[in-house]
Amino acid sequence: MLFIELGSYGITAAFVLAIFSVIASVWGGLSRRADFILAGRNAAMAVFGLVTAASVALLWLLLARDYRVEYVAGHVDNQLNAFYRFSAFWGGQEGSLLLWVLLLCIFSFTVIVQNRDRNQVLMPYVTATLMVTALFFLTVLAFITPPFATLPTPPPDGKGLNPLLQDWGMVIHPPNLYLGFVGFAVPFAFCIGALVSGKLDTDWITSTRRWTLFAWFFLGIGILLGGAWAYKELGWGGYWAWDPVENASLMPWLTGTAFLHSVMIQEKRGMLKVWNVSLIIMTYALTIFGTFLTRSGIISSVHAFASSSFGWAFLAYLAIALAVSFGLVIWRLPLLRSEHEMESFFSREASFLLNNVVLVGMTFAVFWGTIFPVVSEAVKGIKVTVGPPFFNQVNVPIAILLIFLAGASPLLAWRRTSGKQFQKSFVYPSVVAAGGLATLLLFGVTHVFAVLAIALSIFSVATIWLEYYRGVSARVRHQGENAWTAFWELTMRNKRRFGGYIVHLGMAILFIGIAASSAYQQVGEVRLRPGESFSMNGIRLRYEGLRETRNPQYTSAFAKLAVYQGGRRLGDIEPEKRLYFTPPQPTTEAGIRRGFASDIYAVFAEAGEDGATFRFMINPLLNWVWMGGIIFTLGSLICFFPERWGRRRRALPSAYGSEGDYRAPDKSPTPAAAE
């Protein structure tokens, strides 16, 4: 019983302490009482301890298959291996909400430790805001869906984990998304702290820059991993279906992207303050909304792994959070005035602003399409489904504009760019893009959006190249380095800027992949007997026969297909069909031959006496999507590294005194500290 009791009492105690922490922190902050501020801080630490204990308890119960607990009986069974028993932690409703709180508590703990003697004006309210968020989820866990609820008579075997979730991708995809979702609570909390305390300079932004980047990065990776999983497991040949839950993760990512760009304007020019606080409030609200969409079951989705009827709680919390946050913004409007005016349309800040408007517009379009079925049901009584055609129609042109902006803004300088400079910068990338366009047309690529997207991606890549070229040659000229050193130093000394360019490069490659694979996907469906072949686009697939295996969890049938191109055998692919025992459910594992130019994708639909039915697809440039994702990861990591990492040490010129490297002054005690 120990773990069950520890878990349930731990959650209840954490609930009470979170209330205490909020009250003590706010009171301490407003009345300037150090004892209350410290009490609020300690209470938040205690909440972290208790939630951690509860999480360990749930994990233990899952690993030990303690079927007295309803959640354990509902999500694991005797056959499930330890790896998936571990991942069952977030395989269901209660567990995933507990993971949410756990991550939030870990982040709160980290923030409190990081700022133990910094930002003392903001910290009481930061703690309070984080604990309000924790409080909401703890309320749900303590009173609505308790994870440690027990069964009167423990069953001999559990119900097992949804087979779709039994994939390594599904083991790491949800925690990734959660890291992103929950991570945005930190910049939000600092923003609220700044609004309440009135200390609205850039401190709240610079203190949370890494947190924002962290959340944004993991959300992005989570989205990509979700796509990679869907591509392999769902068997319809794509990676993105504008499913409500996919949209739920995309929306905060879009507003987060906007935020990452617009805070730079505030840091550099003291502009857009209202916009920035609004963006982070929106992002936070969208993460809560996303959790609500996934958890409430209000909209049918492939993600309806865990649905329930406590959506009202989320909506109520969301409404309160939005009302309070924007109330604070309105109250503080006089302090949020811009320090400068926009000086020219041809400036970096103007292009960032435009990029922001585009990103928020896209978020709104996605949001509208996602909730429209619910709205129409409420208003007209008919549930209208909004499918991919709507989303594609609206978002493809917006995305194309976005690619153009990603290419154009690096060419503009802060404040203003003179007409001459502007022309000079634009000529080269435009020529390259035009060349790309001509090549595409020459090869018969005529799909308008695909051509535009690819040509503009090339434009974007060309500007990045140009930026690097100019930077490297400036360093070669002024610092006398060779090109490679200059390249490395340039990136390492301007991590934020050049890391950002690498992220853009990744996105451009990703866009090329998306454009080509969605505009030029080829699909064929055919029934084959062993020995028969099917040809598509110069690829011949020969069905060689069926092979069956069986393990304690499922039986699977593999169809062996030999792939030929121009008479040469490239290899085999083996699409698989599985039938799980508990719960009884079939799943497909697509057979994919991945390639630089195109993927050959086969789904094994069913087999009978007279042969087997297959769906074949050729997805051009699909791997570019994942390649883009890898480059995106690399770029984000560069942005994330501390400013001073990776710099080459070099002797200071003798004029500056010492022989050692430039850090010498740091190592020797400072004159003041030496005394």
Binding site: L17, A34, F36, T670
Partner: protein
């Protein structure tokens, strides 16, 4: 077994509560690290940490402007104007630091916030031990200017090569015997002889 369970759970919960309310039972003696000062502002130590961070950011933006010029994105005129503004901001920060007793070179330039905070703490601790000596403020603008130049150069690790263009189109700081006092007509701050703009408020002086 039941008793053991109750004991462990009870102990965990009770100790959590005790930990939370402890500061109320035993109020901390030194409130400096959690409370702003009496006027609702930061304490000196924190203010210095923030100013050091601002200083590093100001240097970074000067470097960015220079870099943009090297990359051919700025016309000479734009460059001069933007540089003037950025330098004014950096000087402003340096002046504030000096007023709070942070001497030249006391805290090395770093573009890393946490480290800047740490360095400031070290400094503040040292300064307090040495006895507050930030009363006198006699350094002239020019020495501030020279210091800025030097710190930026040190930060960039650039050899002041013979033919290399000066970062700013202005004469280098020249030592002056008597500081001919010059004040900004707009805000009243002391201004250096060579300044085109007021370092405190940005008012055009020439």
């Amino acid at each position: 077994m039941e008793i053991l369970t109750t004991g462990i759970v009870g102990l965990t919960v009770a100790s959590s509560f005790l930990y939370a309310v402890w500061p109320l039972v035993r109020p901390p003696e030194d409130a400096g690290s959690v409370l702003p000062d009496a006027n609702g502002r930061e304490t000196r130590e924190h203010e210095i940490a923030r100013l050091l961070l601002e200083r590093d950011q100001a240097y970074k933006s000067i470097m960015d402007i220079e870099f943009d010029r090297q990359m051919g994105k700025l016309s000479d005129e734009d460059f001069a104007q933007m540089m003037e503004g950025a330098r004014a901001r950096a000087l402003e920060v340096l002046r504030k630091l000096e007023a709070r007793g942070v001497e030249e070179g006391a805290v090395p330039v770093r573009i890393d916030e946490r480290e800047a905070g740490l360095a400031a703490e070290q400094f503040a601790a040292g300064a307090e031990a040495a006895g507050e000596e930030d009363e006198e403020e006699e350094s002239t603008e020019d020495s501030l200017d020279a210091r800025l130049e030097e710190e930026i150069l040190a930060y960039r690790k650039v050899k002041p090569a013979e033919g290399a263009p000066k970062p700013a189109p202005r004469p280098a700081a020249k030592p002056r015997a008597a500081s001919a006092a010059r004040f900004c007509p707009s805000c009243g701050a002391k201004a250096g002889e060579s300044h085109n703009f007021c370092a405190a408020c940005g008012f055009k002086l020439k």
